[in-house]
Structure formats: C-alpha cells, structure tokens
Amino acid sequence: MNTTPFIRPCTVIWLLLIALTGVTYLVGQAGVSGMAIVGFVLITTLFKSQMVVDHFMGLKHVRPFWRALLFAYLLLVCGMIGVAYYISL
C-alpha cells in the first residue's frame, strides 16, 4: 500500500507550520506592536491551528460539522483575543 498521498500534504503542512512559527518569532524579536501586527499574528495563528485540525487531526475527512465546530472555536478564541487587544489600545 502506498501512504504517500496521505503523508505528503502533512509533510508540506509540517514545513509550513515551522516556517510560520519562525515568522511569529521574528515578529516578536522585532519588538513591533500595534493592531496590524497583532492582527497578523492572530490570523497566522488561526491558520496554523486550522491546519493542525484539518490535516494532523484529519478532520478534513470526517463529517464537516466537527471541522466547522473547531474552526468556530478557533475563530472565537483568536477573534476575542483580538478584541481584547483592540480595546486596550
């Protein structure tokens, strides 16, 4: 049996997640702040987490409800964090 079609996207995702973590780290090192930066980091985070949900957890292949539920959760958490940062400006 051939597992490549399953693994290859996950490998790509893995490398992508590593790259994006590097970007997040660099943003932190740069010491920049402001809503645009916060928004950028949060959207990156949302994207990264959804990648884990879709490909690592494999929810892309099950009933869409579960994927939607987790996306709603991530959107809510990241969104509310954004709101909290927005009101503190």
């Binding site: 049996m1 399953f6 893995w14 702040s33 957890m57 503190s88």
Partner: protein, 192 residues
C-alpha cells in the same frame, strides 16, 4: 485505490470519549486564554513589561518541537493504517522523545523563573504565564503517557490496518496538546 487519504469515515478519528475530553479541555483553555487577554487589557503596561522577561527563544523552540512531534504522530497513524506496527512504534517513540525535549526546555525555563523569585503570586501576568504553561506542561505529560500506552500496545501487535482506534485516539489527544500550544505561544510570548 487510495483508501488512506479518504479515511472513508464520517465520524471523528479515534474513540468518541476522547473527543468529549478534548472538547472539555479546549473549553478550559479557551476560557483561560480569554481571561488572559482581557486581564491584560486592564494592565497593559504590567503585561508588556513582564512579557519582556520571558524567554522567547525557548517558547519558539518548543513550538517547533511540538509541531514536529505532532507530525511524527501523523506518520505513526499512517504507518498503522498500512498495518506496519514496527514503523508505527518507531514514529511514536520519536514523538514521545520530542515531548521529552519539550519538557526539558520547559523545565529550564521554569527553573530560570523560579530562581529569579517569580511565583504565581508575583503579579497577574506571571500568574497567567505560570498557570497556563504549567497546566499545558501537565497536558504534555499526560499526552506522553497516553502515547506510551499506545506504543506498548502497538509493540505487542495490538493494532492492525483494520483496527487501530487506539492509535487514532492517542493521536487526537496529542494534536490537541499541540493545538493549544500554537495559540498559547503567540498569545503569551509574542504579541503585545
């Protein structure tokens, strides 16, 4: 015919019971994250100042470690889906080892903070920092215990290409531990 990619299944991977647990955990972490964010809104200066004292390199390194560990678990699941127990065990071992690396890095970080006299009662930021990271730390340990249990069963040939719910159960939990850290790291270590 590629049966692996499709995972021909409507239901969640692994045992549904673990998903109830995962959802409960996500709920707790979610509330904890928002509590952090909104407390920060009332104490921006204190949070920003204290955040400077964190070791961002350790945080980022641990993110990479967990992502990689998660990826290894994906490989373990893929291996058992083809019925390859040996390979599954190897990938699980690698994933657990990465979990161990995470713990070691984290312990150095904690040691650093404790020797600087920082505790849960230092200030609100460090209360959150220590609570969240310690709570997560314990989840990493629990996840490793679960993966180890799966590993032992896999080693004794307890799983097959047809029946490997246990592997998927452990994997799902481990990905949750990773998922939570993916939010925790930027929130506590990076954005200000």
């Amino acid at each position: 015919m590629d049966t692996l990619a499709q995972h021909d299944n409507d239901s969640l991977p692994g045992d549904f019971a673990i998903w109830i647990f995962i959802f409960a955990e996500l709920l707790v972490f979610g509330v904890f994250f928002l509590a952090y964010a909104f407390s920060r809104a009332n104490n921006v200066e204190l949070f920003n100042e204290s955040q400077m004292q964190l070791d961002r390199i350790a945080g980022a390194a641990n993110t990479l470690v967990l992502i990689t560990s998660s990826y290894f678990v994906v490989r373990a699941v893929a291996a058992i889906r083809t019925g390859n127990s040996t390979r599954c065990v190897h990938w699980l071992l690698a994933a657990i080892a990465m979990g161990g690396v995470f713990l070691v890095i984290k312990l150095f970080e904690f040691g650093d903070k404790f020797s600087a006299g920082i505790s849960l009662s230092t200030n609100t930021f460090f209360m959150f920092y220590l609570s969240l990271t310690f709570f997560h730390f314990m989840h990493v340990i629990l996840g490793m215990v679960i993966l180890a249990a799966v590993l032992f069963k896999a080693r004794s040939g307890g799983y097959s290409a047809q029946e490997h719910t246990g592997v998927e159960t452990g994997a799902s939990y481990w990905h949750m531990v990773d998922l939570v850290w993916l939010i925790l790291f930027p929130l506590v270590y990076v954005i200000h």
